[in-house]
C-alpha cells in the first residue's frame, strides 16, 4: 500500500541525560510531536523560549488523517514559516457542493470576500504537514526534538513537573518548569494525572479510504446525502496532494470494523461510487468512530493541555487539528511572557478560558452537523430530508443544510483580556475578534497585513496624513515601541501606521491601505487605533490615540492590571 508517500524514519539520538550528571531541569517540555505539539514547540522556540519536544515514535502520522487546514491555520503556519510549503503541496479550495440523492441542492463558498492572502481551506495529508513541521523544528537551535522518547510517568509539582522518559537506551528522569501536553485523544499524561474528559460517543462508524487515481475532479469538497451508490448513508470526497482522494463512507453503528476494512469489501464500495471503468489504487483504509468531549479546564497548574488531548470533536467541520493549532497560537505568547516574568501565571488561566470557549463552539457546531448528517430518529430524518428537498429551490432551506460547518476562528468576545469599546464602531473587528487580512503596500511592495505583524503586541494606527502627525504623538509612539524599564510590566509594542495615502518614509513603519480594504473591514477613520495581540486577535480599539488607555489595555491583555 501507500505508493505515493515514503515515510521518513527520523534519527533517534541518545539523550544527554545518559551521560551522567544531575537531573536536568528544562523551562518548557512539550509532549507529542503531532501537528499540534510541533506547532507549539516551533512557535515557542522561534520566539526565544528554549523547548524540549518528546515523541514516542520516529516517523509521521500513518494515513492521511487530518486533511483540511483552514485559512486561520494557514495564517498561523505563515508565522511558523510553513505557510508557503503547505500551500505549494496542498490543494486549495473554497467551494463545497452538497448533493441529495442524485441532485446538487446547495453549494457554499468559504471565502466570498476578495483580498485575503490565504484561501478558505487546503487539503493536505497530515503526514506532509508533520514532515514539514519536523524539518522546521530541526532548523531551530533552541528546539531539542527527541524521537522514541516516551513519557511513562509524570509527577506535577507546584512549580513544574518531574517526568520519567523511556527510550531505546533506557529510562531517564527530568524536570520541567512547564509541561505542554499534546499527546492526542488517548492522552497518556491526562490518564496518569487522573484528569477527566467528558462528553459522548456517537453511535456511528465511518470508513475512510485514501484512493490514488487520475481524475479531473475540481478542487472542491463534495458531500452526498443518501446517494444512489451508498443508499441511506452519507459520503464525503476530498481531493488531496499527489492525486490522492479521501473518501469517507458512513457505515452505521452495526458495521463490523474489521470486516469493513478488507479490500474485497472496500473496493466494491468505491467502484459503485466512481464507476467500474475508473482505475484506482487503495492506499490506506481505516474505520473510525468519534467522540465529542473536552476537559473542564486546559490549564492544571504548570501542566497545559492542547489539541486532542484537551478536546475532541466529530470530523465534520475539520475542527480537530485546526482548533489544536489555534490552541498553541493562543498559548505560546502567554507562556513566553510568563516564562520571561513579564506576566503573572494567571495569564495562563486565560488560555484555558479562551480555548474552552472555542472548544465549546467547535463542539456545538460539529455536534449540530453530526445530528443533521446522521439523524437519530424518524422525525429528525424527516426534517432533514424536508430541508434537503426544499433547498433545491428555496434560499432559506439552503441555509439550514448542514454537511459540516467548516473551521473558522472564534470571536473571543467574552474574554477578560479585552478592553470594551468606549465609542461606536461598525463591522466585525470587535475586541476579541480574529483579525481580517487586507492587502497593503509597504515600501513599494504588495504585502499582506497579517504578514506585517510581529510576535509582539502591535498598535495599528490609521492616519490620513502620516507626514503631519504631531511630534509629541510620534514621540509617544516611539516610547511605546521601545521597552519601558519599569520591571515586570515592561512590554514593548510594535507601532504600525496604516494610511490610505502614499507617503514618503516616516520614522515608523507605514502600510499603505491602497485598496481601502483595511478602512472598510476595521471601520477605520483618521485617528483610529487598534491594539492587536500576538495571536492576531483584537485586544482594544479607540477613535483616538491615548497612551494611558493603550498602556491600561496592554496591562489588561496580559493580566498585569492591578
Amino acid at each position: 500500500m501507500l505508493s505515493t508517500y515514503q515515510y521518513p524514519k527520523f534519527d533517534v539520538v541518545r539523550a544527554p541525560e545518559f551521560s551522567g550528571g544531575q537531573t536536568k531541569r528544562y523551562p518548557v517540555v512539550v509532549v507529542g510531536a503531532g501537528p499540534v505539539g510541533l506547532a507549539a514547540a516551533i512557535e515557542l522556540a522561534q520566539s526565544g523560549v528554549p523547548v524540549l519536544l518528546l515523541d514516542d515514535d520516529d516517523t509521521v502520522s500513518v494515513g492521511s488523517r487530518g486533511v483540511c487546514y483552514a485559512k486561520r491555520t494557514l495564517e498561523v503556519l505563515d508565522r511558523l514559516g510553513l505557510g508557503d510549503v503547505c500551500m505549494d503541496k496542498g490543494v486549495s479550495w473554497n467551494v463545497g457542493r452538497t448533493f441529495f440523492r442524485e441532485q446538487e441542492v446547495y453549494n457554499f463558498d468559504l471565502l466570498p470576500q476578495p483580498d485575503h492572502k490565504r484561501p478558505g481551506m487546503i487539503n493536505l495529508q497530515q503526514y506532509y504537514l508533520e514532515e514539514f513541521e519536523v524539518k522546521r523544528a530541526q532548523e531551530l537551535p533552541n528546539l531539542d526534538l527527541r524521537f522514541k522518547n516516551k513519557v511513562v510517568s509524570v509527577t506535577p509539582q507546584g512549580d513544574g513537573a518531574t517526568l520519567q522518559v523511556e527510550t531505546p537506551d533506557g529510562i531517564y528522569a527530568m524536570e520541567t518548569d512547564w509541561l505542554v501536553v499534546a499527546d492526542g485523544a488517548r492522552s497518556g499524561i491526562r490518564r496518569m494525572m487522573n484528569l477527566d474528559i467528558e462528553g459522548k460517543i456517537f453511535k456511528d462508524r465511518f470508513l475512510i479510504a485514501d484512493v490514488v487515481m487520475k481524475a479531473d475532479f475540481p478542487h472542491e469538497r463534495w458531500f452526498w446525502f443518501d446517494p444512489p451508490f451508498h443508499p441511506g448513508q452519507s459520503v464525503l470526497l476530498h481531493r488531496q496532494a499527489d492525486n490522492v482522494y479521501r473518501i469517507d463512507f458512513q457505515l452505521g453503528w452495526d458495521a463490523d470494523p474489521e470486516e469493513e476494512k478488507k479490500p474485497e469489501k472496500v473496493i466494491p464500495r468505491i467502484k459503485a461510487m466512481l464507476g467500474d471503468e475508473r482505475e484506482f489504487d487503495l492506499e490506506w483504509v481505516s474505520v473510525y468512530t468519534f467522540q465529542c468531549r473536552r476537559m473542564n479546564a486546559f490549564t492544571h497548574g504548570h501542566v497545559l493541555f492542547v489539541g486532542d488531548a484537551a478536546h475532541q470533536v466529530s470530523p465534520f467541520g475539520a475542527r480537530g487539528a485546526n482548533s489544536g493549532i489555534q490552541d498553541t497560537d493562543n498559548l505560546c505568547w502567554k507562556l513566553k511572557l510568563v516564562v520571561e516574568g513579564k506576566a503573572p501565571p494567571e495569564l495562563l488561566n486565560t488560555y484555558s478560558e479562551e480555548r474552552v470557549f472555542a472548544a465549546e463552539e467547535n463542539l456545538l457546531n460539529s455536534t449540530r452537523s453530526t445530528d443533521f448528517i446522521t439523524p437519530k430518529s424518524k422525525t429528525s430524518l424527516t426534517f432533514r430530508n424536508a430541508v434537503l428537498s426544499l433547498a433545491r429551490n428555496h434560499a432559506f432551506a439552503r441555509a439550514l443544510v448542514n454537511s459540516g460547518r467548516l473551521s473558522v476562528p472564534s470571536f473571543l468576545t467574552e474574554s477578560r483580556l479585552n478592553t470594551p469599546d468606549d465609542g461606536p464602531f461598525s463591522g466585525d473587528m470587535v475586541p476579541g475578534a480574529p483579525m481580517d487580512d487586507a492587502p497593503m503596500r509597504f515600501a513599494g511592495q504588495d504585502v499582506w497585513l497579517l504578514d506585517q505583524l510581529g510576535r509582539r503586541f502591535c498598535l495599528l494606527v490609521y492616519v490620513n496624513a502620516p507626514a503631519s502627525l504631531a511630534a509629541n504623538t510620534l514621540a509617544q509612539f516611539k516610547a511605546l515601541a521601545s521597552s519601558a524599564a519599569d520591571g515586570a510590566a515592561a512590554l514593548a509594542l510594535d507601532v504600525l501606521l496604516v494610511s490610505p495615502a502614499k507617503t514618503a518614509a516616516t520614522e515608523l513603519k507605514l502600510l499603505q491601505d491602497h485598496t481601502d480594504r483595511f478602512a472598510e473591514r476595521y471601520d477605520a477613520q483618521d485617528g483610529t487605533v487598534y491594539l492587536i495581540r500576538p495571536d492576531q486577535h483584537v485586544a482594544a480599539r479607540w477613535r483616538a490615540f491615548d497612551a494611558v488607555k493603550v498602556q491600561a489595555a496592554l496591562a489588561r491583555a496580559t493580566c498585569n492590571l492591578h
Binding site: 449540530r368 422525525t379 428555496h394 434560499a395 439552503r398 460547518r405
Partner: protein
C-alpha cells in the same frame, strides 16, 4: 406580503459573526423539541406547531402559498 423564502432566522439582541449560526440555532431547538418522543407523539407536536405558526402568520394567502410549496413533489 408574499411568503418569505430567504433566510430569516434571528434572535433579538443576539449578534452573529457567522451566517450559518441563527439557522443552526433554530434547527437544534426544533430537533430538541422532539427528543425522546415516539413517532406518534412527534407527529402531534408537529401538527400543533403548524397550527401555532399559521395563526401567528395570519395572512391566509401566505399560508396557501406555503401549503402549496410543502405539498409539491411529495
Amino acid at each position: 406580503m408574499p411568503l418569505n423564502l430567504q433566510a430569516n432566522f434571528f434572535e433579538p439582541g443576539k449578534r452573529y459573526f457567522r451566517a450559518f449560526t441563527p439557522g443552526d440555532d433554530f434547527y437544534e431547538a426544533l430537533i430538541d423539541t422532539h427528543r425522546d418522543l415516539s413517532d406518534e407523539q412527534s407527529a402531534m407536536v408537529n401538527a400543533k406547531l403548524v397550527l401555532l405558526l399559521a395563526n401567528h402568520v395570519g395572512d391566509i394567502s401566505v399560508l396557501r402559498e406555503a401549503m402549496h410549496i410543502a405539498r409539491k413533489d411529495i
